[in-house]
């Protein structure tokens, strides 16, 4: 059995280790060893689910060893990890650990997105709880819950309309005391669909000729607002998310295939474009919104 060791900290900065480990193409049973995991964010949890699903494509469902620390298990289960993982790992992970009735920092538990109804359900859930978190932790104005819901809706629709496959979304607020000295809200979206390159290929690859690839496809969608749909009104989602995230001085990155593109604020070390990453199906979107500092 191949063992993929999960690092003690798994978040948006090092999920590449997971994608690389899965990319190797080796078949046979896989164990995701998360016993040492001490910290993860929505990006890390969704990456674990996605990597598990890819590892299981050979026919043998992967296994997972949950974190040894009960509070870590409690924390990931508070985000609905065990429930989502039950469909991917065998045996399904138990919902062990301490699980508070409802944590105030959970904006949205890991939620499968397959249909437009799922998008409605996710927006509905966020509306009922995000207002207090955004205003209390991030010091955003009361109306920010609307923009936050719009961002969530648009990123989830990206799965339904473009990926042609299912995915997940999750969002949580944290205190990034050491890293940024501020609270942040993190939205992660992950699908295992056909990715940006395949989605745009038929309509747009010719104009880019031999430059066409994962990075060019991301640039076309991210910077130029191109979509596979011919209507003028299409392609606004990502553009509008970029504008709103920039207004909040946030980080937005989209990974698809072997590339990642980002709008990175000054507090982030994300490069604007990364290429030649490990090949991974679908698209992964990461949004980090920092607390307002009163500037």
């Amino acid at each position: 059995m191949r063992v993929i060791e999960i690092p003690p900290s798994l978040d948006y900065r090092n999920v590449e280790t997971l994608y690389s480990a899965v990319e190797s193409g080796e078949t046979g049973p896989v164990l995701f060893d998360a016993r040492r995991l001490e910290w993860t964010d929505p990006n890390g949890m969704l990456a674990l689910l996605a990597a598990g699903r890819v590892a299981g494509e050979g026919g043998t469902p992967p296994r997972i060893s949950l974190p040894e620390r009960r509070e870590v298990v409690g924390y990931i289960n508070r985000m609905g990890f065990a429930r989502a993982a039950a469909e991917i790992f065998s045996p399904p992970p138990r919902e062990a650990g301490r699980r508070p009735a409802r944590s105030s920092d959970v904006l949205l538990e890991i939620t499968p997105i397959t249909t437009n109804s799922d998008v409605h359900a996710a927006v509905d859930r966020v509306q009922s709880r995000a207002g207090a978190i955004l205003s209390r932790s991030l010091r955003y104005p009361a109306a920010a819950v609307v923009q936050f819901s719009v961002i969530l809706s648009e990123v989830c629709q990206n799965i339904v309309e473009h990926a042609e496959g299912s995915g997940w979304v999750a969002a949580q607020a944290y205190n990034w005391a050491r890293r940024l000295g501020r609270h942040v809200a993190v939205i992660a979206v992950c699908d295992l669909g056909r990715g940006f390159r395949a989605s745009l290929e038929e309509g747009h690859s010719a104009r880019f000729a031999d430059r066409w690839g994962d990075a060019t496809a991301l640039e076309a969608a991210f910077l130029l607002g191109l979509t596979r749909f011919p209507d003028t009104g299409r392609g606004q989602g990502i553009q509008q998310i970029r504008k709103q995230v920039a207004r909040w001085n946030g980080l937005l990155s989209i990974r698809s295939g072997t590339a990642r593109i980002a709008d990175a604020p000054s507090w982030s070390r994300n490069p604007p474009l990364e290429e030649k990453l490990a090949g991974f199906p679908g698209a992964q979107i990461n949004i980090i919104l920092p607390e307002r500092t009163g500037e």
Partner: protein, 209 residues
């Protein structure tokens, strides 16, 4: 019957979008999200203005009880409605006014209008309407004068708006941001709405929907 704008409006409908969303989704909350939802809402609005309407109608599309509207939905509902009723081959002679809450809906509505090069007559509370979206400075100025005066006769357009006034009013009428009456004069869409409100109280108007 002639209203005070000198028009013969066919009717004004107040269309509560939140009620349409709740009916369509069987949900207690009115969240206008996802493109299919927007498409369904647009079709429901069109179905409401379609049956046995007189030649001209003005509909007030009311978003005020909608909790959230995303760009896909705003594109389908606002831009979609206007685009469908803009060309000469439009399904009916329908005009639209929009009522919304600026902090909740204003941004999405403004962005989709600008993206399509459209403008719309909107109120964000307080009863004052304004032109939102893509319009030239001259169009905005002409629209403001027309909105204030409610109606401008053809022969008065140059004196009120300057030498290019007729062309500007003509452009507003082409863009369905004003109404061209049979005598060649122009009327503000809100004037029609006000006339009908006086003639037909909002309660009875809504219950008739």
């Amino acid at each position: 019957m002639s209203d005070r704008s000198g028009l013969h409006p066919g009717g004004r409908s107040g269309i509560d979008v939140s009620a349409i969303v709740r009916d369509a989704l069987a949900s207690p909350h009115a969240d206008l999200v996802t493109r299919p939802t927007g498409r369904a809402v647009r079709k429901a609005i069109e179905a409401r203005i379609a049956p046995s309407r007189p030649p001209v109608s003005v509909s007030l599309v009311d978003f005020t009880r909608v909790r959230v509207i995303d760009f896909s939905c705003a594109d389908e509902v606002v831009a979609g409605l206007l685009l469908r009723h803009l060309p000469p081959g439009r399904p009916r002679d329908a005009f639209f006014l929009f009522r919304a809450v600026e902090e909740v809906h204003g941004h999405a509505v403004g962005e989709v209008l600008a993206r399509h090069g459209l403008a719309a007559v909107c109120t964000f509370g307080g009863g004052r309407f304004r032109l939102v979206g893509s319009a030239s400075r001259g169009e905005r100025a002409a629209w403001s004068v027309l909105e204030r005066r409610e109606r401008i006769r053809h022969c008065d357009s140059a004196s009120l708006l300057g030498p290019g006034g007729r062309a500007l009013l003509g452009r507003l009428c082409e863009r369905r941001l004003a109404y061209r009456d049979s005598a060649g004069g122009s009327a503000a869409l809100t004037a029609l709405a006000r006339t009908l409100r006086d003639r037909d109280p909002p309660g009875s108007q809504r219950s008739a929907q």
